[in-house]
């Protein structure tokens, strides 16, 4: 059967398509890069002064605007192509934007701009004590390198930008480097990302197949497609945080300053998704097993990520694990899409990839929002420990309201944006099930795991929001919390607004993303998708109307009646106090207990004893099972081996000369021995 959407295998020589009209379209992109590099330099020179913060923030906002324009035009179909001379081995500075690049460029610019604004005041109290300039320089470099990554059209350029991205984000994570756990996190991150890149090197070399490393000419050798796909899964999956490779993510994201966590979690890990999509474009028609592989990885990451998130007690760590979950969801969408492509089911393909791309955008929005809000909480209370917070909604209404929106959105509830993308994936899965055949099982996996994930995510975020923002404060610092200044409130509220807007205007977003999807899934089923989403947004609007109407009724009914205030009804208990509230740990306990086998949660329980028990406590801890059960032992094994070998270097000269003698004898005998 003819597969949708795939151009035939590219020719080895760059195709002689007429150069797209560049002039003004490239201009914004060049402006973006120029602003960023100039800003980085300026910030670096300003050093510890507070002005560095202002420069960095302004630069990132301006660049964000440029990026939105440039990406938007490319998404709208005004592609451009730019080649500059660059003399490095095998490399050329060749950037171009097609709708896919444009889409990611938009997402990146949006979030980086807003987080830049947030960071301005967020870092202010470090002025004079830390080198703000360096931090902002790396922030802008991160922005720039991401922009290059999604537009690069030469493998070497791509890899350089890729590594620059990792490096700048690493140095950003290291901002508060006196804390030992930060250094550990940085180390883990560096190791993971660097080892991941090794796979990418091999992947690109296999794709190049001895030829040039320009994307136009990349195409796998016969039969190498599967290998390339697997390498891409590992290489890009490390950055994206696919399941067995996610271990760096929950370490690094909490360690960074919050606006950086937002960028890393919101968009940087998405570059892994971009890389995967780009590779799929280069690879040509996919066999079914790629789809199933992605589905498997996605389901595992999603379920495992949300479970681990549920077991966390630290707000930012919880959010970090949710990034793993959402990456899993995106992978599910891509898997559905790939199955659709391979089984020739256009609707399924379109739904899957639209869902994946929209979720990339949506996750960027609400995860950015959540991390920034968490940053405000940290800023106000100096702790991210759930069980020391509480009652913040009264004290920081703006942040709390935004966080609520974000929580509902990330749990995929209507009428917010999270539901739109998940709905697309569900619908794709459902269409596969309705269509039957082998792909249907993919649909089953997707639907089942999505259902489980969303249920658990709901549990997790009712916990996060409920414990942090509702009830009574559990510590003095929470008691004294207050909303941050405007420049920190604004981005959060803008993002919250975006969550609602994207939820109501799902079809418009889908229509906008359609060109990007068309490259992979073919544009044929796009109208159907948009039409489907109109139903969703219609329902969302209706829901809003209903709520408004009911609220009105309630107001009407209560008018003129006594509305009193009192303590919470605690079933007759005389003196309810803040310490009697349910805590995060107790809230999550039933589910965590249920999955203890996979989570490896440890519990330190001190039972109350005697007639008048003094103190009793229960403390649970859930580390990362893979890190603790798989990676640490592996590293330890290598270290053990190395330790066994150290006697070779005993310090005895005689021994060393013996090595030389043996080497020469062995080689001589091996090469010449016996042969007459």
């Amino acid at each position: 059967m003819r597969r949708p959407g795939w151009k035939r295998r590219r020719p080895r020589r760059p195709a002689h398509r007429p150069e797209p009209e560049n002039d003004h379209k490239v201009a914004t992109y060049i402006l973006l890069i120029a602003i960023l590099s100039a800003g980085a330099l300026a910030a670096l020179l300003l050093g510890r002064r507070a002005a560095a913060s202002a420069v960095g923030a302004l630069a990132s906002i301006a660049a964000g605007a440029c990026g939105l324009i440039s990406g938007g035009t490319a998404l709208a179909g005004a592609t451009w192509d730019l080649r500059l001379p660059w003399s490095v081995p095998m490399g050329s500075f060749h950037v171009a934007a097609d709708p896919l690049s444009g889409f990611f460029l938009c997402v990146i610019s949006l979030l980086c701009g807003l987080c830049g604004l947030y960071g301005w005041r967020y870092l202010a109290h470090h002025a004079g004590r830390r080198n703000l300039g360096a931090s902002w320089c790396f922030y802008l470099l991160l922005f720039a390198s991401m922009a290059v990554v999604v537009t690069a059209r030469n493998a070497v350029l791509f890899l350089v930008a890729w590594e620059a991205m990792s490096l700048s984000s690493l140095l950003l994570v290291m901002f508060e480097h006196e804390r030992p756990e930060v250094v550990r996190a940085g180390w883990t991150y560096l190791v993971a990302t660097h080892l991941g890149t090794a796979f990418l090197l091999v992947m690109f070399l296999l794709l190049a197949d001895g030829g040039s490393l320009e994307f136009d000419t990349l195409a796998p050798a016969e039969g190498a497609g599967g290998a390339v796909f697997l390498l891409a899964m590992v290489g890009f999956g490390t950055k994206a945080g696919f399941l067995p490779l996610h271990v760096w993510l929950p370490e690094a994201h909490p360690a960074a300053p919050s606006h950086v966590s937002a960028v890393m979690s919101g968009v940087m890990i998405k570059t892994g998704i971009y890389g995967l999509l780009r590779t799929l474009l280069l690879l040509g028609p996919p066999p079914a097993w790629w789809g199933f592989a992605l589905l498997g990885v996605g389901a595992a990451s999603g379920v495992f990520g949300v479970l681990l998130a549920l077991a966390q007690h630290d707000l930012k760590r919880l959010l970090a694990y949710h990034s793993v979950e959402n990456i899993g969801i995106i992978a599910l969408g891509m898997g559905v899409g790939l199955l659709g492509v391979s089984s020739g089911n256009h609707l399924m393909a379109a739904l899957g990839f639209t869902g994946a791309l929209l979720h990339v955008l949506n996750h960027a929005v609400f995860k950015g929002l959540l991390f920034l809000a968490a940053g405000s909480v940290l800023h106000a209370t100096a702790t991210g420990e759930l069980d020391r917070l509480g009652g913040l909604l009264k004290r920081m209404p703006a942040t709390g309201g935004a966080f609520l929106v974000g929580s509902a959105a990330i749990s995929g509830l209507p009428p917010l944006n999270g539901f739109v993308s998940e709905f697309c994936m569900y619908a794709g899965a459902l269409s596969a099930i309705a269509a039957g055949g082998a792909a249907a099982w993919g649909g089953v996996v997707a639907a089942g795991s999505l259902a489980l994930i969303s249920g658990l995510a709901l549990a997790c975020f009712s916990k996060a929001f409920g414990i942090v923002f509702l009830g009574e404060p559990r510590s003095e610092s929470a008691e004294a919390a207050h909303d941050p200044p405007l420049s920190m409130r604004l981005p959060v509220q803008l993002l919250a607004g975006l969550c609602v807007a994207l939820g109501l205007c799902g079809p418009l977003a889908a229509a906008a993303a359609a060109p990007a999807v068309a490259g992979i899934a073919g544009g044929r089923a796009a109208p159907a998708v948009v039409e489907l989403l109109w139903w969703v947004s219609g329902a969302a609007l209706l829901l809003g109307a209903l709520v408004a109407a009911l609220a009105l009724c309630r107001r009407r009914l209560l008018r003129g009646r006594t509305v009193g205030e009192g303590p919470t009804w605690d079933c007759g208990y005389a003196a309810p106090g803040a310490r009697m509230q349910y805590t995060a740990s107790s809230y999550a306990m039933p589910i965590v207990k249920m999955f203890r086998g996979v989570l490896g949660t440890t519990e330190h329980l001190q039972r109350p004893e005697g007639l008048l028990p003094r103190s009793a406590s229960v403390r649970t801890h859930t580390g990362d099972p893979l890190l603790e059960r798989a990676y640490r032992p592996a590293f330890a094994a290598v270290a053990w081996l190395a330790a066994r070998l150290r006697w070779l270097q005993r310090g005895r000269n005689q021994l060393y000369v013996l090595y030389i003698a043996l080497a020469v004898l062995a080689l001589l005998v091996f090469e010449l021995g016996g042969r007459p």
């Binding site: 003399s87 081995p89 590594e163 660097h194 090197l201 190049a208 590293f635 000269n653 080497a663 001589l668």
Partner: protein, 498 residues
């Protein structure tokens, strides 16, 4: 021109011992280095013709390594002047064991430095294998006293091991030369001359058996000097005990000289259609070096020894690249450039750290970023450069080598190569990151407070490594055409295709 390149450092070296006051001597050192640099620079403009009946000449590879050597020497000379000022004075206390020791007389040290330079220059300009051999041995003899600059038992031990092991190895190389002569005696009735030109033209007539034996002997011999496993054993001791400038020169320049010798022989064997044989041997030793070095890096507690093992690993990359042929040869030559720049810079930075923290154990150095920002930044940059992160050149060279390997379809080899690189990188990051970051306070994880002198980081200690760092970045960001041309032609000589 070539004679000048040889004689300027040699004569200045002979002058040094007779100059009593120290300032003129230091000035002489700088002047000699600068003059040498100028001479070599002029060679880039106009390549001098071969002289002495084709015994001396400057081909692409020679020019490349000669320039590297000279550049490093110039930079280290600047560093050395400051270093001498710091090291001057009668008795010094050893930081590790606390006994008192004296340094060797500075005059002798300076002289040896210059002779060392002369010997290395001779290595890179000699186009006659016998002469090459003599020059390489000369480098050993000139550098042994350098290692024994601090007069105490550890440095003496290091010098002794260096001397003995390298001499033994080099002796084998001598035998190799004789075998080569015998192999050629069939080619031309009056025995053949060991000049490269005659070897290359009469390569076809070489007796394969004798040639193979000769190559093996030379490989082991020069490999000892180059630090290929399992003959690398002298390297960590020498590098850890020598003064940092000497370590920088040893690692950045000397190893290249030995590599150059192997390159010449590989070229001959390629001409004799034995390229596969020699290539496979080079790959074998290269891979062995990479793996061993990676494993020895894991438990490394001494940051100078760490750098030494990383040199072993990089030499492995060079051998691997040359062995696997194709584009990889270009890659490994380019990698030689990057490695020299970066490693020299790292050793100079290590010298600063040593001077600041008075310890070589990495566990006792913490939070450099707060006490010595520039050095810390250099140290970190050096780490990133040596593990092959862009924008440093090492990324590209390692990529090209990998491409050569993958292009030849040696996937298992590629896997081991990447695995070794990975382990190296993990181990080094594990050592370096805690040194740079973290609190500098005593107490927290045993960090020793870096000693703040009045001027924490004197200019002479900062500028040389900084210059090298910038050079490494520049090569990575933009490979100049002239350098590219030389690399390409040198690679072509050693049997690589572009």
């Amino acid at each position: 021109m070539i004679w000048a390149i040889l004689f300027v450092p040699a004569l200045c070296g002979c002058l040094c011992p007779v100059i009593r006051p120290s300032w003129p001597r230091r000035a002489l050192l700088l002047a000699a280095a600068a003059l040498q640099a100028a001479l070599v620079g002029s060679c880039w403009v106009r390549r001098p013709a071969d002289t002495a009946a084709g015994w001396l000449g400057l081909d692409a590879a020679g020019l490349l390594f000669l320039s590297l050597t000279t550049a490093l020497f110039l930079v280290t000379a600047v560093y050395a002047v400051g270093y001498f000022r710091q090291e001057a004075g009668a008795k010094r206390r050893d930081w590790e064991e606390g006994f008192l020791f004296t340094n060797r007389p500075e005059a002798m040290f300076t002289a040896c430095l210059l002779w060392f330079l002369a010997a290395m220059s001779l290595v890179s300009v000699s186009r006659h294998l016998g002469l090459l051999w003599a020059a390489v041995e000369a480098t050993t003899l000139a550098s042994a006293p350098l290692i024994y600059f601090h007069r105490h038992h550890r440095s003496l031990e290091a010098a002794w091991k260096y001397l003995l092991i390298c001499s033994v190895g080099i002796a084998l190389a001598m035998l190799g030369n004789f075998f080569l002569a015998v192999a050629g005696s069939a080619a031309s009735e009056d025995g053949l001359r060991l000049t490269l030109d005659s070897l290359l033209e009469s390569a076809a007539g070489l007796d394969p058996t004798w040639f193979k034996a000769a190559f093996i002997l030379c490989l082991v011999g020069y490999g000892t000097k180059m630090g290929l496993a399992p003959m690398h054993t002298w390297l960590p001791d020498a590098h850890s005990e020598a003064p940092s400038i000497v370590s920088a020169l040893l690692s950045g320049a000397l190893l290249n000289c030995a590599f150059l010798a192997l390159l010449r022989l590989h070229a001959v064997s390629c001409a004799a259609a034995l390229g596969d044989f020699s290539g496979s041997l080079l790959m074998l030793l290269g891979l062995l070096s990479m793996v061993l070095a990676a494993l020895f890096l894991i438990h490394q507690s001494d940051f100078k020894r760490m750098l030494a093992y990383s040199s072993v690993e990089n030499m492995g990359i060079l051998a691997l690249g040359v062995g696997s042929g194709g584009v990889a040869v270009f890659g490994s030559l380019f990698h030689a450039v990057n490695h020299s720049l970066v490693k020299a810079m790292l050793f100079l930075a290590a010298g600063n750290i040593l001077a600041a923290c008075h310890t070589k154990s990495s566990a006792e150095v913490r939070g450099l970023l707060r006490s010595h920002p520039v050095t810390a930044a250099l140290w970190l940059a050096g780490l990133l450069a040596v593990i092959g992160m862009p924008p440093f050149g090492a990324f590209f060279s390692e990529l090209v080598v990998l491409r050569g390997i993958v292009g030849a379809g040696r996937y298992a080899l590629a896997a081991v190569y990447l695995a070794a690189l990975g382990v190296t990188f993990v181990a080094m990051a594990r050592i370096v990151l805690p040194m740079v970051f973290g609190k500098g306070q005593a107490g927290d994880e045993g960090g020793r407070v870096p000693i703040r002198t009045a001027v924490p980081e004197p200019l002479w200690a900062i500028l040389p490594p900084l210059a090298l760092c910038l050079a490494a970045v520049a090569v990575g960001l933009h490979l100049p055409a002239w350098l590219n041309a030389v690399l390409q032609s040198a690679a072509a000589q050693a049997g690589g295709q572009p």
